[in-house]
Symmetry: none
Subunit: 95 residues, 2 copies
DNA sequence: CCCTATTTGTTCGTATGTATT
DNA sequence: AAATACATACGAACAAATAGG
């Protein structure tokens, strides 16, 4: 069994973002949720702003769409994000 | 149990919940396959009806998704169920 | 009104890694 | 060692809602 792609994410583009560790103990969807949660907390993703789409997250972080959806779903459960059907995911405006 | 013909509401599930024994000798996926097979045979799951999704089976019987998939795959092999990709698993219409 | 594109949600299939028996 | 079971992850396909042309 091939020891899974061990390549260190070649597209390590301008680290405007944190990379995902596909080999560590922390699940990918939890890592991605943590990244987005941090961007919300820091104001990089302010209230009312749309989150990157699933497809964008897939391209930007190298994860599967289902994994991206799972990460966003976590933020929805936490009340940080609101889904608008057919539109996208938006950062909740805090009162 | 499960008196046929007294169904007031279409979606009202008779909670005749058969439990899975995770400690016995019979593999979980075989137990689950037997449960579904019985529901098909009894008409509780008639021809054309969609089987519960993997996720539903996970929540309802407390098994892993892979185990639920394995159980459904058995019914497919037996010709009792037909898979429609992206849709779900449907009970075969018997002639 | 119809068509297309975008986005989210959900489905099944499959593979991997780990733990247990 | 082998079978079983679970969690995670990726891929592909279908559906519904929305928006714009």
């Amino acid at each position: 069994m091939a020891p899974l792609g061990h390549r260190a994410l070649p597209g390590a583009s301008t680290v405007d973002h944190v990379s995902i560790d596909h080999l560590g103990d922390v699940p990918v969807y939890q890592q991605l949720a943590a990244i987005l949660r941090e961007q919300i907390a820091s104001g990089e993703l302010p209230g009312g702003r749309a989150l990157p789409s699933h497809i964008t997250l897939v391209q930007r972080y190298g994860v599967a769409r289902g994994t991206a959806a799972k990460a966003v779903a976590m933020l929805v459960d936490e009340g940080l994000v609101r889904i608008v059907p057919g539109r996208g995911a938006y950062v909740q405006r805090r009162s």
